[in-house]
């Protein structure tokens, strides 16, 4: 096992961990809003959040690349005011993967919220508890399986992300080259042996994550029956 292999995997894991943590923090309020808001506007938001499920990753990657490029106003603005260059950087692929994984986190948590009887929230309100206390003490503890599903799926999906990262990350070894890109890269260079190593690792890794999700949910359902 060489240093390149380890670094590439480390970048994959770092990207997936950060994406998951950040999405968890923004996913909960978004999912809450989408479940309980009565505004019509929320369908538009819902559609936007789910776009990455149907959009080719290259399309999203292409627009993000344009946005991050210093030749256009947003990239130029970031560059001149904050001295930040997002294209072909780790921060760039992080933002890309946050946007791309939004539906995996938000939809999972949202389905958790909508499966709870609405009367739980009402009951907590009539007991004099604020919205924040209600979310923290009543709603979130009762959607643990949904939260675990969201966390694991986001993590696993980021590990397997390819298109967006290739478009905006540029496949720079030690910086933006992740394991999923490395497979493609090694195949291009006819290093089938190396490609196989990455591929087997990714395969096992994804399998274990999904195994964890399903066994936790199964245990939880068993427990709930009593």
């Amino acid at each position: 096992m060489n240093a390149d292999f380890l670094i590439t995997f480390w970048i994959s894991v770092k990207l997936a961990t950060l994406t998951t943590i950040i999405l968890f923090v923004i996913g909960i309020p978004l999912a809450y809003y989408l479940t309980y808001s009565k505004l019509r506007f929320k369908v538009v938001l819902q559609a936007l959040i789910s776009m990455p499920l149907v959009l080719p990753p290259s399309v999203l990657g292409f627009y993000l690349l344009l946005a991050f490029s210093p030749n256009y106003w947003f990239g130029n603005f970031l560059n001149s005011y904050f001295n930040v260059q997002l294209a072909f950087s780790f921060a760039g692929i992080l933002i890309g993967s946050i946007i791309f994984n939004l539906p995996f986190m938000v939809n999972a948590i949202q389905s958790g919220f909508s499966n709870l009887p609405i009367s739980l929230k009402d009951a907590s309100y009539t007991l004099g508890k604020s919205r924040l206390t209600t979310i923290r003490k009543v709603l979130l503890p009762n959607i643990k399986p949904a939260m675990i599903t969201g966390l694991c799926l986001t993590f696993a999906h980021t590990i397997g992300e390819f298109g967006v990262i290739l478009m905006i990350g540029g496949n720079i070894p030690g910086k933006t080259r992740v394991a999923s890109l490395a497979v493609y890269d090694e195949v291009q260079a006819l290093n089938f042996d190396m490609a196989n190593k990455y591929a087997i690792f990714l395969f096992l890794f994804s399998f274990v994550i999904l195994l964890i999700v399903y066994s936790i949910n199964r245990e939880y359902l068993k427990w709930k029956r009593f």
């Binding site: 009367s119 009951a123 309100y125 508890k129 709930k224």
Partner: protein, 288 residues
Amino acid sequence: MEEILIDLHVKKLIHTTNGDELLELKLTIPRFGFITFFGKSGVGKTTLLRMIAGLTNPDSGYIKVNNEIWFDSDKKINIKPQQRNIGFVFQDYALFPNMTVKEHLLYAQFYKERGYVSELLEIFHLKGLCERKPAKLSGGQQQRLAVARALARKPQILLLDEPLSALDNETRTILQDEILLAHEKFSATTLLVSHDINEVVKLSDYIYVIENGEINKQGCPKEIFNNTKFQVLAQVLKIEGTILTISANDTITKIEVSEFEIRDLKVNDKILIPTKIVNPMILRINTS
């Protein structure tokens, strides 16, 4: 004269199976009373409780409690449910699956008083079940917990939305007694929504009958339900000549009627049979 606790006049368009209907209710509730809203399902009884609780907003009108305005569409006042000192028992109980019996009561308390929690546990026979979560309680125990939780913050108004409809008759009777006991002990003003006549007569001091979006009748149970005659409500199942097969009180029986009486009757009609019993013989059937 009794002191008035709640004074309200609200209008709200509600969606019923027969299309939209305007619900317009104007009523007052005396302090410490046990008041029942009686009527068919979908008539707006639950909506009324939810409006008092602040969970549903009236389209217009006002709700005054203790001379304090909780809702007023003209003055644009709408106090949040959290700030209305009420206890609400939901039809599905709305217990929190993640909390034990004791945690429910501690969560619900406004001022933490362990003594009061044990008192509630005692009254509602939940003492031995302290560490259990709702999924491990029977229907009756869940219902007791829902009432105990609603009382934990010492509400001035207790709102009960068909709290016993999911229980069997025996449990129902026991819980009716407990609710009555709690009502007297904690001197809350209790508002009950129900469509069970026995329950309503047993529990309430005063009844509002809601029908077609408005208060159709009001009075004490005697005035609303008691008739001087003893009568049976039945449904016509079959008509053969002048012999009717009817279903009354879960019993199928045949009665003979005159041709005059039968002339407009159809199968499925609901009929009222006043009986002229002068001196009925009564057999006691409960053995306990």
